[in-house]
Subunit: 139 residues, 2 copies
DNA sequence: TATAATACCTACTATTAAGGTAGGAATTAT
DNA sequence: ATAATTCCTACCTTAATAGTAGGTATTATA
């Protein structure tokens, strides 16, 4: 029930891109956050293939956002990096349970999945940059 | 970002206990849901050590709930079986990120953790038994 | 009081996913 | 030409998941 370090590192890194035009290299990010350069490369390849960032090669190259931060949600980011975003998927390929149709648990898993999905979809990178995500754990 | 099969099997099994007094054996549950008997045993040991069920040995033995279903939340169950309930814990032991104090991401993780925790704490086993958990994915 | 059914306990094993590393090829500003 | 970058593929190590195996302790009941 944990999010992987890929997502953790991606969010930290992406929080440096405060404008759509800003170009930052993997080396800079790797040094600032003490994250393995090679690992970050792989993370940004994933982000690129999902249309979140664009790479530019050569000196002064690096990555930039392919959309303004206001149009990138955390759902987009997490879906690029996590194998499975749903916390539990009883209807996937390997459904071992023979009671799927009348299962009393499935509605609960669906609701939980949707709760998470909706929240992730509602938070944008811009909100994080501006510290607009209220810390709900204190309320 | 997935819940383990332990929790999946536990919920399926616990959904058979519709009264606090009802005693069901591992064998019965294992046969009904085609879950490994040995694995289920281990799951129920965890549930017992967290005070959710009580075992009774001997013939006609088995497990029963140690509280009425209305007083058992899914949070209780999941916390008994999952190593980590928080989706991301930046403040745990292995905090590699040197920017914890001023991190712009932490409030987001906290909010997400709390969202999940609150939901899990709000759903009782009784609600699941009575199919009172609305499938939120359709709305 | 023997038997059989159950929970309970500890150690082991196999598979998969996470979290990286390594080595290079392609591109491009200077 | 060079050096800095992204981009690509394969590999490695560790830890967690998902079980198995083999037994011991307890207890209803015949």
């Amino acid at each position: 029930m944990k999010v992987t370090t890929k997502t953790k590192y991606a969010l930290l890194s992406l929080s440096e891109f405060d404008r759509e035009e800003k170009i930052i290299s993997i080396r800079q990010l790797s040094e600032k956050y003490s994250i393995s350069k090679k690992y970050l490369e792989r993370i940004f390849c994933d982000l690129e293939s999902c249309g979140i960032v664009e790479g530019k090669r050569g000196p002064k190259g690096g990555y930039k956002l392919s959309k303004p931060p206001s149009q990138i949600t955390l759902k987009d980011i997490i879906e690029s990096l996590e194998k499975e975003v749903k916390v539990m998927d009883c209807e996937g390929i390997r459904l071992q349970c023979p009671f799927n149709k009348n299962c009393r648990i499935i509605p609960f898993w669906k609701t939980l999945n949707k709760l998470i999905e909706d929240y992730l979809g509602s938070v944008t990178l811009e909100q994080i940059l501006r510290k607009e995500v209220v810390d709900g754990s204190k309320s």
